[in-house]
């Protein structure tokens, strides 16, 4: 099964495409067949357009035939999280609010992927407006974890992680506001990279929390992640928060840089509530780096415990404003019952948004309200500065930090849905990276006894993605975790056995 094209790496596929052993049309058809076979069970896709994907693939094959290949991504089907605009494709944010919205424009990352020849493939499910950690908050149905369909794939980019893990795409784009790339990557056993804030343009990414959101790649390997990152990174005049920085050839940097590195272990990230199996897997990774000659140092990020509070104030404040545009006036869901303009707002938004989105809009509206603004929003911003300073202090002594991604293993669907606060607390190891604007990567680092993937987080210095990828690559090369793929036949059979009467077409 591992030899199937849909389970190979971009690096491998690109070679076969270049050598004409495989065409993009064949590869894309293979991915489409796979998607049709497994997605009824996984539900990673909100939608896909077969004809459009094949047309892109044909164009790629024609380029290669004419000797005009656009590079290693040319002809590779890459799945897109359904918050990233691709011209002519639905853009729903997994919300009733945008159920029928088709984007009339390309996001900058979509434009860049197309420029690199990639096949923009499908619309991947997420927690509505990227708010959640399990992809259960999708208005169109939850995505399941390919390793165990009883369990969640993580979130909010659960569709991206699950699609890649199940062979429904060769890479995927997600977005990460508080861990939304790294945590699902860990839950689904793939590599997920959240770049430094400002490295990748946010133009065309439906905003959740503008100061925290970043688009990043999901891939089977660190090398593949480097390839996709190289295609989407870089300054964009359409995004004022994008940074002017030289974009290196990440793939060759990953091969070139060999360490040894000084790695910091933040003690606050190994405290109470960490699943012992995850703790053990991460400890093993630490041992590996030590054995490779890396200097391992304990560091402290003393303001970590204020992170969740600050994060949920800043993120909700920004989202309360960012989501104000969904009002039923210009596009999106419009209530048919409205009596006047104000009533139209109330009804359209009441009908269009799900419970978690409403919860966060209300929370954000509250923390920005006159009289509360200083106590909440302003204080949260101060905490944010302190948290960033914590990281920068640590980086005086070390090159990168090593931590778990999630304190818990992929949980069962429905298990935490009733307790939003418990769900928020699971973001504890990932949100610091967003608050500080740093790059973070999730790399598979083992499996639990029950066969669930475990992720290792490496946190880098601002705009030092090349170094971060190299550190991750050193670990990956010495382990086979990234080569493992879920056995979907087994997963589907187990799921069918455990839930009588449920079948997949």
């Amino acid at each position: 099964m591992e030899s199937e094209p849909y389970y190979q790496t971009i690096a491998e596929l690109a070679e076969q495409l270049d050598e004409r052993k495989l065409s993009s049309v064949d590869l894309t058809q293979c991915v489409i067949r796979r998607t049709k076979a497994v997605d009824p069970a996984i539900r990673a896709f909100n939608s896909f357009d077969e004809a459009d994907a094949l047309a892109q693939a044909r164009a790629s094959d024609e380029r290669r035939a004419a000797g005009k290949s656009l590079g290693p991504l040319d002809g590779i089907p890459i799945g897109i999280k359904d918050v990233i605009a691709v011209e002519g494709q639905p853009l729903t944010a997994s919300s009733r609010m945008l159920e029928n919205f088709v984007s009339p424009y390309d996001s900058t990352v979509a434009r860049k992927l197309k420029g690199a020849g990639a096949v923009c493939w499908g619309r991947l499910n997420l927690d509505e407006f990227a708010m959640g950690s399990s992809t259960e908050n999708s208005a169109f149905g939850a995505t399941r974890n390919p390793w165990d369909l009883e369990r969640v794939p993580g979130g909010s980019s659960g569709g991206s992680a699950a699609a890649l893990a199940a062979g429904e795409a060769c890479a995927a784009l997600g977005s990460d506001t508080g861990g939304s790339i790294r945590q699902p990557a860990a839950f689904c056993g793939v590599v997920g990279l959240k770049p430094t804030y400002g490295l990748v343009s946010r133009y065309g990414l439906i905003a959740f929390a503008s100061s925290l959101d970043q688009i990043g790649p999901f891939a089977h390997t660190v090398e593949d992640a480097a390839l996709v990152l190289g295609a989407i990174a870089g300054h964009d005049p359409l995004d004022s928060t994008s940074f002017r920085v030289e974009i290196p050839d990440y793939r060759s940097e990953v091969r070139k840089r060999r360490g040894p590195w000084k790695l910091g272990i933040p003690k606050e990230y190994f405290g109470e509530g960490l699943d012992p199996e995850i703790g053990a897997a991460v400890e093993a990774a630490i041992r590996f780096y030590r054995e490779q000659g890396c200097e391992i140092r304990e560091v402290t990020l003393p303001h970590t415990r204020y992170g969740i509070g600050a994060y949920y104030i800043i993120a909700t404040a920004e989202c309360s404003s960012n989501l104000a545009r969904y009002d039923g006036i210009r596009y999106g869901h419009r209530s048919k019952e409205a009596a006047d303009a104000v009533d139209l707002y109330f009804r359209s938004r009441a009908e269009g948004f799900g419970a978690e989105v409403k919860r966060r809009i209300i929370l954000g509206t509250y923390v920005l309200s006159s009289g509360y603004h200083d106590a909440y929003y302003l204080r949260a911003q101060k905490v944010r500065t302190l948290i960033r300073q914590d990281f920068l202090n640590a980086y005086r002594d070390v090159d990168a930090l090593l931590t778990p991604i999630s304190p818990i293993a992929p949980f069962k669907a429905g298990e935490k849905a009733a307790d939003p606060l418990a769900m928020y607390l699971c973001d504890v190891y990932t949100i610091g990276v967003n608050l500080a604007g740093l790059p973070g990567i999730s790399v598979p680092c083992g499996f639990s006894k029950s066969g669930l993937p475990i992720g290792l987080q490496l946190i880098g210095q601002p705009y030092q993605e090349a170094e971060l990828l190299a550190i991750a690559g050193a670990y990956e090369r010495a382990h086979d975790w990234s080569t493992r793929r879920p056995d979907m036949d087994k997963s589907i059979a187990a799921w069918n056995a455990s839930s009588a009467g449920r079948t997949f077409g």
């Binding site: 918050v83 945008l98 009339p104 439906i206 905003a207 210009r330 509206t365 920005l368």
Partner: protein, 483 residues
């Protein structure tokens, strides 16, 4: 009015004249078909982001420098959150706690005792100027309302005065002066009919001599400068009538109808918004350093009233001329060229203010469309002063210049309007006139000065009116042996 004093503060919105909108490349403009000046950013489509238009920031910095404001070292953006169908994002990108311009003032001129006499000048202090984006426009129909987003996202300056005016005339003079400065700086055309300048007024009254402000009423929808004056006068009268009869002013927003001259309450202050301002995370603060300010300063024109004082000083042209010239910067430039080229500023001033403006008005064209070039008008002035043509002929020449753009010399030649034609002719006519009246010649030579006039009628008749009286006089005197 002596027992009470009115206090007026204005909030003026001025659309900044830029090619594109405040935060996107979509074109800015007026009078285009509905919803054609839009793009994904203007319509706030999912995923779109704002990018600041530097030309708009340049313009507001220029306004600030011209009005003597302190320019903030950093331009920071905030979101003002409120729902309204004409607001695509349901927040407006604006500046809350760090406006780009602080302080400054506008010099105004109050009406003089007569139209041709300069009135009192004073300075109205400004609180702040900030930059924001305009909203769209709602059009209400019988069963529905439609939104036109052409205006949405247009750069908009908000200029806030201190509560420092006391009469409707002051407010009128303020807006007139502000508009002139904005037009001078090419910051805005300030056409109120196109909504490029909009004004709200905060008005209160208090007993004379009291320092604290009374309860204010906000007057909205004042859509011409005259309506601002009328609305304020009406509101002051309304408030005075209330307080003088022992009543209390309610804090409210009122709408003044310039056509009917009446106002009505729009809302009371209890319904005030909480705008939940916070820094816009999509926009980075922009540093406005000294080099930036110096660059803008170099592009700031002379202020209108400074120009008026200079014209008066430099050219000795009177208020009746400068008061007409100064509101129009192009007209001033035109005048100065004619004045310099002709060397006769007062005469040039009269030509520009009387003849040129009259012709422009009759033809209903602007100075920019005028065919008479300043150097040609200067040449005409010189033709008169040199005695080559006479004033009545000059008016005829000017009318022709205005129509065709032809140079005055050509017209004079073609139409044979040269005063006195050749000196040979003139001398011949004079000789004949002297020969024809020997008695008068004898009387003149005997010392009767007035006798010379007896020759002038025949000379002029012979010259068919084209002889220059001065030249006739000189020639006659020469022939009579006294020249």
């Amino acid at each position: 009015m002596s027992d009470y004093e009115a206090v007026i503060g204005l909030e003026v919105h001025v659309q900044v004249k830029t090619r594109s909108k405040m935060f996107t490349r979509a074109a800015a403009g007026y009078g285009f078909p509905e919803n054609t000046l839009t793009d994904p950013v203007v319509l706030a489509l999912p995923g779109t982001l704002p990018v600041m238009n530097r030309a708009a920031l340049d313009a507001v910095v220029k306004a600030g420098l011209m009005l003597g404001c302190e320019i903030a070292p950093v331009c920071k953006w905030d979101r003002k959150n409120y729902f309204y169908p004409d607001s695509p994002k349901n927040y407006q990108i604006s500046q809350y706690d760090q406006p780009i311009c602080l302080g400054g003032s506008v010099e105004i001129e109050l009406p003089g005792p007569a139209r041709n006499v300069m009135g009192e000048h004073k300075r109205i202090p400004l609180t702040r100027i900030h930059l924001e984006e305009d909203v769209g426009k709602l059009n209400h129909f019988a069963r529905e309302s439609l939104v036109d987003f052409n205006r949405a996202g247009t750069p908009l300056m908000e200029i806030v005065t201190d509560p420092a005016m006391h009469t409707a005339d002051e407010a009128f003079a303020f807006l007139t002066a502000l508009k002139t400065v904005m037009v001078y700086g090419a910051i805005s055309d300030c056409d109120m009919e196109k909504g490029q300048l909009r004004c709200d007024a905060n008005i209160s009254v208090r007993p004379a001599g009291v320092a604290t402000l009374g309860t204010k009423v906000e007057l909205k929808n004042l859509n011409s400068i005259s309506f601002v004056r009328d609305g304020i006068a009406h509101e002051i009268a309304r408030q005075l009538a209330i307080v003088r009869s022992g009543g209390k002013i309610d804090q409210e927003t009122r709408d003044f109808d310039g056509q009917t001259g009446a106002s009505q309450s729009l809302r009371s202050k209890e319904q005030a918004h909480d705008y939940r301002y916070f820094p816009d995370p999509d926009l980075m603060p922009v540093k406005v350093d000294d080099a930036w300010k110096d660059r803008i300063r170099a592009s700031c024109p002379e202020l209108p009233f400074e120009k008026q004082r200079r014209l008066n000083r430099q050219y000795q042209v009177p208020y009746t001329i400068t008061s007409v010239l100064v509101p129009d910067r192009e007209l001033c430039d035109y005048f100065e060229k004619v004045a310099a080229l002709s060397g006769q500023p007062q005469v040039a001033g009269n030509w520009v203010v009387n003849d040129l403006l009259r012709e422009l008005g009759q033809a209903r064209i602007s100075l920019g469309e005028c065919k008479v070039r300043p150097e040609d008008l200067a040449a005409l002035v010189k033709l008169v002063s040199s005695g080559t043509i006479l004033t009545p002929a000059a008016r005829e020449v000017f009318a022709e210049m205005f129509k065709t753009g032809e140079k005055p010399e050509g017209i004079v030649e073609r139409k044979g309007l040269k005063a006195g034609a050749s000196s040979d002719d003139l001398e011949r006519w004079c000789r004949e006139a002297v020969a024809g009246d020997p008695r008068a010649a004898a009387e003149f030579r005997a010392g009767k000065e007035s006798a010379i006039n007896a020759f002038k009628g025949p000379v002029m008749r012979a010259a068919k009116g084209k002889a220059n009286p001065k030249a006739v006089d000189e020639t006659l005197r020469k022939l009579l042996g006294q020249g």
